[in-house]
């Protein structure tokens, strides 16, 4: 910290760099002829023939000189840097040193090696030490004898499961995952309507277990739930089961290793698990949305820990959900849906699309209650073996939507309160009419799951689906 550069030449070299080793004799020659200080970030005994070697194993000087490549040769005059070169290039070294005929026995040039002070994990520590992080969040010191996990639980930050402690290093590394300004405000998080900066989202993403490369997906998901149409406040506050369900499309899925195949909706994949969890933590911690407070859910559902998966686009005969919803092919996107749980749709015998569609429709009609229609939107997760049946018959997704909608027309008489001996139901006035289980456009279809098993899934929605309540929102994932 007390580093004051002396006029003359400064070299930063490390032993673990063949080009630095190569320049050893040149440095020794320079040391005899001019003022030369050599800083060594890895081995203070290197280079042996230079007398004025300075230990920089704490990397302070390397950091303050912003060294990116070793060897670096710098000329200082009157306390200011006036010239610099890195790697070995005879002409460049001669210019910086102001001496001709350097290292004549050496090749003309050699590229250098990466400097130690910019290695991942090191640069973050140096930025923290020099107070250069730019992070604005309040610092909370946890005592040496205090358990970090317990400290976080006590502060109410957890969804019930242990968290990754959001240290400055981890948050800095997380922010490397996006090109966005950490202080950019993505929106106001309900219910407290508090600003979600990229930094605050990153802090929660760290706690959720995200890798930096997941952050753009988390930010896109936050943008999506904050769209007016999604009604995040209502989705949180409702007594019903729902929470945000995330479907990820496009190349980002494979880049970050998301699971769209076997057990896509289950446990075991870090990206699926952590991204959905990060969104929930953002709502909890930034927005102040907590169960039995503004979150009035009667039962909730396990997806409120995390509910995020990728569509299995490869090999599907259908457009990905994102493309169907206006994104370009090859564009990464997140779709949010106010949904809950999973109702299995088992059909191992249908080999014709008509039969399989009827299976889906009859199962869909049970959602919420067989007596309720229209009830809510639904997200169908169709497994590859079921998709194959539609593919072989040439059924487009549009055709399937159309057929399912038709099959979900229900005679009003079956839905009237009291019919089937069930008090739940609609008014007597619908008795002579036909009522659809869904609003037009209330179904979404994605393909996911393992290659074996004729087991699709229905993710039910909110009784306030549609423009009056919540509609699905798709957002592009931007870096």
């Amino acid at each position: 910290m007390s580093f004051t550069p002396r006029d003359g030449l400064i070299a930063v070299v490390k032993r673990d760099c063949p080009t630095c080793e190569l320049t050893g004799p040149v440095l020794s020659e320079l040391a005899e002829r001019v003022s030369l200080q050599v800083y060594t970030p890895d081995d203070p005994s290197f280079p042996e023939n230079v007398p004025d070697r300075i230990d920089d194993t704490d990397l302070d000087v390397s950091h303050r000189l912003k060294i990116e490549v070793v060897p670096t040769l710098i000329r200082m005059e009157r306390g200011r840097e006036i010239d610099r070169t890195f790697g070995w290039n005879r002409g460049e070294w001669e210019r910086v040193a102001g001496i001709a005929g350097l290292g004549l026995e050496l090749p003309d040039s050699r590229p250098g090696c990466g400097a130690k002070n910019i290695e991942p994990g090191v640069i973050e520590r140096l930025k923290i030490r020099f107070n250069e992080t730019g992070l604005k969040s309040r610092r909370i010191a946890v005592g040496e004898d205090e358990d970090e996990q317990e400290a976080m639980y006590e502060r109410g930050w957890s969804d019930g499961l242990p968290l990754v402690p959001p240290t400055e290093e981890r948050v800095l590394r997380m922010l490397d995952g996006t090109a966005r300004d950490p202080q950019e405000v993505i929106g106001l998080i309900p219910p407290a309507l508090q600003p979600a900066t990229v930094e605050k989202i990153a802090v929660n993403a760290v706690m959720a277990g995200c890798k930096p490369e997941y952050l753009p997906v988390v930010v896109a998901a936050v943008e999506a739930v904050l769209e007016e149409g999604f009604a995040m406040h209502g989705v949180l506050a409702t007594t019903m089961f729902v929470g945000p369900v995330l479907v990820v499309n496009g190349p980002i899925r494979r880049r970050i290793g998301m699971n769209a195949k076997g057990n896509a909706l289950g446990q075991g994949n870090r990206a699926n698990g952590a991204i959905g969890r990060a969104l929930q933590l953002v709502v909890r911690n930034i927005g102040g949305g907590r169960p039995q407070e503004v979150d009035r859910a009667t039962l909730g559902n396990p997806g409120k820990y995390t509910y995020c998966f990728a569509e299995d686009e490869e090999g599907s005969c259908w457009d990905p959900l994102s493309v169907e919803r206006g994104m370009k092919p090859g564009q990464s996107a997140v779709t949010v849906f106010a949904g809950f749980g999973l109702q299995g749709m088992v059909d191992q015998k249908s080999r014709e699309p008509e039969s399989l569609a009827r299976s889906f429709a009859e199962s869909l009609k049970a959602m919420h209650n067989v007596k309720l229609a229209p009830c809510c939107d639904a997200l169908l997760v169709i497994c590859p073996e079921h998709e194959r049946t539609f593919r072989n018959a040439g059924w487009s997704k549009a055709r399937l939507y159309e057929e399912l909608y038709k099959l979900c027309e229900i005679p009003g008489a079956e839905l009237v309160a009291g019919a089937k001996g069930i008090a739940e139901g609609g008014p007597a006035s619908i008795a002579g009419k036909t009522v659809n289980k869904f609003r037009p456009g209330g179904l979404m279809i994605v393909r996911a799951g393992g290659g074996a098993g004729m087991f699709s899934g229905i993710i039910g929605g909110w009784s306030s689906s549609g423009p009056r309540g919540s509609i699905p929102i798709t957002k592009e994932v931007r870096n």
Binding site: L135, S137, R138, R139, I140, A141, V142, G143, E144, E148, A151, M152, R155, W157, P165, P166, T167, E168, V171, I189, A192, Q194, P195, K200, V203, N204, M207, A231, H233, G234, T238, T239, L281, N285, I286, G287, G288, S464, R468, G469, S470
Partner: protein
């Protein structure tokens, strides 16, 4: 010592004290807010009738949907027109 970054909005929780309950309703105007939950209107209409029988001034209001907070203009209208509010929270 570990230093953690606060994941919250860093708002110190402030508990707002409740307004004192009025001693009596005479002379006050009561707002009746239907938040658009099923059958809330039936219950609140009856409540209005009962207040009317006792000669208590009251005004009915309705939110367009129960899924969102009341629109700001409605909140402001209620705040300026009545002294206290009764609302039906759920069906």
């Amino acid at each position: 010592m570990t230093v953690l970054l606060d994941p919250t909005s860093e708002q110190s929780p402030t508990i707002r004290p409740r307004l004192p309950r009025p001693e009596k309703l005479d002379g006050l105007t009561i707002g009746i807010l239907d938040i658009a939950k099923a059958r809330g209107d039936v219950f609140l209409k009856r409540l209005g009738e009962r207040l009317g029988e006792r000669g208590i001034a009251h005004k009915h209001y309705a939110k367009p949907t129960n899924t969102r907070p009341a629109p700001l203009p409605l909140q402001q209208q209620i705040a300026t027109e009545v002294d206290l509010v009764i609302e039906g929270l759920s069906d």
